[in-house]
Amino acid sequence: MALGKKKDDREVQTYMKTSPKTILLYVVIILFCIVVISPLVIVFSSSLRSPENQTSPLALFIEFTGVSYIRAFSNMNYPMQLINSIMTTVGSVLCIVVFATMAAYPIGRIKTKLARFLYFFFISGLIIPSQMVIVPIAQTLNRLGVPNTRFTPMIMFITCSLPFSVFLFSGFMKGLPVEIEESAYIDGASLPKRFTSIVFPLLQPAIISCVITQGLWIWNDYFYPMVFITKKAQYSLPVGMLQFLGDKENPAQWNVLFAACVLCALPLIIVFLALQKQFVNGIAAGAVKG
């Protein structure tokens, strides 16, 4: 909890003095960053080539053209898919936060075997990959009469996110002090009131962390939109990207795919750069309590 405060202290701190040891540290870190980033340079360099240029992607920056970007942009119908992606991601994440914090409340607070069982029950969902269960899921949706609309993938995103989110929130909740709630109880606050005005605000760091990790996953996931959306006008960006990937009989359009990938990651990169501090601290603060 002291985290927020500590951060402020750091604003005024001094940096380390230059000594051979610190220089070595910088060198190691910089080298490490180069190793980490260099494969991504390939993506960027290839995306600036024309789609037909099939020379090895390792010949970096041999051509500068926006053709691949234009192709990806128009073929994906970028503005439309961007809006779809934003709607799907924002909508799902909102529901996840509401449902998972609610579910974590009893699980994190009640100390009985039942609560402990429910905790493990949700966690068990973490370990089953969705590809395996997709056919039974489709049948279930069919039986319930849920048609394929833009909301169907959202249902699945929310469901699949519950194990992790409940795990995160209930873990975090266990570390929150109960005293405030106790006094609120004495003051006669109702359960919903206690949840919305005390618990939910206290969960904020974990919520940021949940929004970031789950948002990132939902933004990049193509699987559920691919199998559960029938209308092209409802596709999200990753599904649009898939069409450049190719198959055994049709080689991938790598340069266009890379351009599409940059276009798909661009909103994330912008958000990341703009909110970097909150982003990193958010993940950190939420996860550390788990």
Binding site: V135, M226, V227, Q243
Partner: protein, 433 residues
């Protein structure tokens, strides 16, 4: 009409109602009598520039029938298969889907037809009278509308062949090996393959099988299913695998490299002039004829010659089927007939992509790369063309073959006899139930 139905029922016993009913012509005015309709279609592949399926086709259909909106989705094949299964399970399958002949792949038209998902296309105008549709006919019903053929062959770099002093395409297996040796002696990598994508092993092996197995016994695969023949039979698959292995033994294909190479990397090496040959399909012609680091050079395309004559792995390509649960079966039939009729703008546009090789219709011989493919089509017309082996096997048999073969050339101690035994075992296992 009723009498006729009863008659056929009595005659055929198990014949289904739908077969009897579809003996009538379908409603050729179905689209004209509908309001605004949206027809969905799902195929596998890559979206090219001015893509045929996702861009040209919907536009041309709209031009012909302004009240029809065709929505086409293109996915990479593994994703296509997963989507297809999921959409079938959720009862929301697109109206038109891409299916493969016989048992090939997970969109095999036989497997889908057996489960009752495909509408019969017997009453299509463009199907009537065609004799070449056996591999898309299930239980008396044509279930896939297809017109082109697909080829497996050997692309080669004519410049490099000339450099090594090779003057003509090899006509026998021994000549083929000699040519490889000449290339190697001239310091040229004879063949590049992207064996990291193990499916490319099929490109070479099926060509050899077309030479060594089917000419002697065209029913080899039918008999496999009935147990009369086996993969382990001497002089069949052991021979094919042994022949292909020779290429690795002599380093004509460098296993130490190829196992770490992807299919697209192999294509790049070929167009960059780093290797003289690669085994690939007609479907990859555009990529293989693109200009690479080696600049422009002339390509040739020949079938791997056999020990006793030249045959080719050329067969009917994948095509389009109508989902039996579709609301718009007759409308889809109108579209397919229009598409396949050999002179319509849709047909011409499809042909113009150079990704199908048509054996009939206007302008079939002016399609891009037609010169490359002509020798194969001639062989096919002479009755020397055979289907790709995996079309006759339950899906998964070829995977076992690929895995075991790459174990062998990767020096894991696997022998040819282990491969044929493994294939037989897997084949029987997959046929079970």
């Amino acid at each position: 009409m009723k009498k006729q139905v009863l008659f056929s029922l009595a005659l055929a016993g198990a014949m289904t109602m739908s077969t009897a009913v579809t003996a009538m012509a379908y409603d050729h005015e179905a689209i004209e009598n509908s309001g605004d309709i949206t027809i969905t279609m799902m195929v596998s592949g890559t979206a090219y520039e001015n893509d045929f399926e996702t861009e040209q086709l919907p536009a041309l259909i709209k031009e012909k029938w302004p009240n029809v909106t065709l929505e086409v989705t293109k996915l990479p094949d593994d994703n296509y298969y997963t989507s297809l299964k999921t959409k079938l399970a959720s009862g929301e399958c697109p109206d038109l889907i891409l299916t493969q002949p016989m048992y090939a792949g997970q969109n095999s038209c036989y497997a889908l037809a057996e489960a009752g998902y495909l509408a019969s296309l017997n009453d299509l105008d463009t199907v009537a009278g065609r004799q070449d549709l056996n591999s898309v006919t299930y239980d008396g019903d044509v279930v896939t509308s297809t017109s082109g053929v697909s080829i497996l062959g050997t692309y080669y770099n004519k410049d490099l062949f000339a450099q090594a002093g090779i003057e003509s395409e090899p006509q026998t297996w021994d000549e083929f090996l000699e040519d490889c040796q000449k290339l190697q002696d001239a310091g040229i990598q004879p063949i590049v393959m992207g064996d990291k994508d193990q499916y490319v092993l099929q490109f070479g092996l099926y060509q050899i099988a077309a030479n060594e197995i089917y000419p002697k016994n065209p029913d080899f695969d039918v008999q496999l299913r009935s147990g009369e023949t086996h993969f382990t039979d001497e002089g069949t698959w052991d021979k094919v695998l042994e022949m292909y292995k020779t290429l690795y033994d002599n380093k004509y294909i460098d296993a130490s490299k190829s196992l770490g190479y992807g299919a697209s990397q192999a294509i790049t090496d070929f167009i960059d002039g780093k290797a003289a040959m690669t085994f690939d399909g007609s479907f990859n012609a555009a990529a293989l004829t693109a200009e690479g680091a080696a600049g422009p050079f002339e390509r040739g395309y020949f079938p791997i010659p056999g020990t006793e004559g030249v045959y080719t792995a050329t067969c009917l390509s994948a095509g389009y089927s109508i989902y039996s649960g579709s609301e718009y079966i007759d409308q889809c039939k109108e579209i397919l007939d229009y598409w396949q009729d050999g002179s319509s703008p849709v047909w011409q546009a499809h042909l113009g992509t150079g990704r199908i090789i048509a054996t009939y219709g206007e302008g079939a011989d002016t399609a891009p790369n037609y010169e490359l493919f002509k020798p194969f089509i001639d062989l096919l017309n002479e009755g020397k063309g055979f289907y790709w082996c995996n079309q006759a096997w339950p899906a998964g048999t070829e995977t076992e073959m690929e895995v075991l073969f790459s174990e062998m050339v990767g020096g894991q101690g696997t022998e040819v006899e282990d491969i044929v035994e493994g294939m037989q075992e897997k084949f029987e296992d997959l046929l079970e139930d």
